[in-house]
Symmetry: C2
DNA sequence: GTGAAAGCGCTAACAA
DNA sequence: TTGTTAGCGCTTTCAC
């Protein structure tokens, strides 16, 4: 009944060689004669040999050093979640000999990113997880990783030219579409909609423009009535003209909704809207940051789209672990669902857990 | 730097006993003198010994037989998803010596449930995962499991008196609230809302009434205007009066929304609404069944709440595995988030994956 | 009660 | 180029 498990030993016997030889072909560490190789591979294939990964990690008593490169978690609650996910992952994988070192940089300082990247390399990691939020600065960094043949995974921000083994994050264009959809539900007549970019350098943050594009496309395709879309951005917290421009916007009688393109800006926008008076203006932003949850509960924010920073980081590490330890080739792109948070379903998200498994490459359709 | 890992051997040495003795106290298999026990436990505690679970599963070459009891997957796409999750789980855990046998019963036949339950017992399982959709019939079944000291977990339907080690599913009351919230977005004025129960025996399905309650509570608390809530149920597919009653309902000029309480009924209701003419009547139902996705895409259904049947089943098995193999006490209640599916975010859900980890008890807040 | 020893499937160092 | 062997940390059996 119980189908027998085939061990290396069995393969060796069947092929008429020693287990050492089988091991060598399995890991192609050379030193195998043509003849032996042929025989072993044949037997391997015939029996559909699958290594026991449990035994593998026990046997090779290796330690893996992973390094993550991300914005300083103390600077921003979004990245604090990310960091939490990293710690979680370390905890989960420590049994497999995985240790993680985190290198942080300043969200506003591209220089500090480059310096942190150097630090990463000095640590001689076996794998790297990186949040490449500065496009231009990231490219040469990728190159150094690549040249040293260190596998690296991206999360949060996708850079196609990166050569990374995987990207973990969301589809930003569709994220914008979802935001627009939520803003349009039940609305009619002529409407002004606004996209707010708060404290982001749009030159370097192509990704936010992706969201904007999705937003605009949806409104243009589906909005039931004449619509105008205004884009407003605050370049820094000391950008005083922003307040004025926002005030002007809020005065428009047909303003129907505001979409804030980042988790950081969401609460900022909410506080403006609150003091101005909500007047039925729908507000959609990102993530379950504490402030955002409060504004959602009090009705200032209508919807949040959950980017799951914690889970992204966790998955990022897990991806590297799968690659390094379990030799599973990761999906090149791992897109998270665009989860919609409302006042009523929000509590059900706050107890959510991360669950993982070593051979976690199972994909569902 | 790298903090040393403490093995049984180390504990034994520190306590001045053999590893055999340490093992005995770890698993309290008796045969340990007062004295030794005291010493070992002291050392254990002092060093915060944590067993290497990897080595554990390798060492004890045990096989675990799990059995699941659920409605016939061929009968209903919802349960087909569930079954997929089971297969997935088997695949994931097979490395740890886990095998799973599935026993199915007829959704409409309580008798067949009881018979299937008997079959389950005959298989002498080490653990059981059960979808106890028939309340009254389930109670005695739980008792037989309990009497034989077989650990069992519930999913899909919560029965508080079950004595199960865990329940995996959703909070139905809040599910109803979320549905109501979605139906109310952007609506105003006097409105009739309807809750549809399609093909469910309400006597035995207290859980659907939970959803209805949540729905009603929300509307009464928050709806902006006078509201009437009508509850309609079809007891079987041959309940011809249902069609008439539904037609009457659909004629109401102020009908603003319909909430279908189960995944199965969702497409049925959608087809009715489609042929009647949508007329701005909002429709909220459950799950990403193929038909539902179609109706969502074509605009007949406005929102789906995702119950994640596949993930529920997967988690259920994982819960048992954690309990049996990793000796981790599971959370007694594992509530999934109430995920809102819209036309725009739906595609991002269709590539979703299940990720798991052996020590998967990590909880995030 | 206790300890010694074999073995789980695999890796890696070493001898041949 | 090959085969042998000693572990990895834990379980389990079997003598003492």
């Amino acid at each position: 009944m119980a189908k027998k498990i085939i061990r290396i030993k069995d393969i060796a016997k069947a092929a008429g060689v020693s287990i050492g030889t089988v091991d060598r072909v399995l890991h192609n560490r050379g030193k195998v004669s043509e003849d032996a190789l042929k025989k072993v591979t044949a037997v391997l294939k015939k029996n559909e040999y699958k290594p026991n990964l449990i035994a593998r990690t026990l046997g090779s008593n290796k330690a893996y050093r992973l390094v993550t490169l991300l914005p300083n978690p103390e600077q921003d609650p979004y990245w604090a979640f990310t960091h939490k996910g990293i710690l979680q992952a370390e905890n989960e994988w420590s049994h497999y000999g995985v240790s993680i070192v985190t290198c942080v940089f300043d969200l506003q300082e591209k220089k500090s990113f480059e310096e942190a990247a150097k630090k990463v390399l000095k640590l001689k990691p076996d794998g790297i997880l990186i949040a490449p939020i500065f496009y231009k600065e990231a490219l040469p960094v990728f190159k150094t990783f690549f040249d040293k043949a260190i596998p690296y995974a991206l999360f949060n921000t996708h850079i196609k030219e990166s050569n990374a083994i995987s990207f973990i994050g969301q589809d930003l264009y569709h994220s914008g579409r979802v935001a627009a959809e939520l803003i349009c539900i039940g609305q009619k007549g002529p409407g002004t909609f606004s996209v707010l970019h708060v404290d982001e350098d749009l030159n370097d943050s192509i990704h936010l423009l992706e969201k904007e594009k999705g937003f605009k496309d949806y409104v243009n395709e589906f909005y039931d009535g004449h619509s105008v879309i205004e884009s407003l951005n605050r370049t820094s917290s000391t950008d005083f003209s922003f307040k004025k421009r926002l005030a002007t916007l809020l005065k428009k009688p047909d303003l129907k909704g505001i979409f804030v393109s980042s988790s950081r800006g969401t609460a900022t926008a909410a506080s403006f809207l609150k003091s101005h008076g909500k007047n039925g203006i729908r507000l959609v932003g990102y993530d379950l940051l504490e402030k955002n949850v409060e504004y959602l509960n009090s009705g200032v924010i209508d919807f949040l789209i959950h980017q799951k920073p914690q889970q992204q980081a966790f998955e990022g590490i897990s991806c590297l672990v799968n690659h390094l330890i379990f030799k599973k080739s990761p999906q090149p792109i791992n897109l998270f669902p665009l989860e919609v948070i409302t006042r009523q379903n929000m509590p059900s998200y706050q107890v959510e857990s991360i669950n993982y498994h070593p051979q976690g490459t199972s994909i569902l359709n």
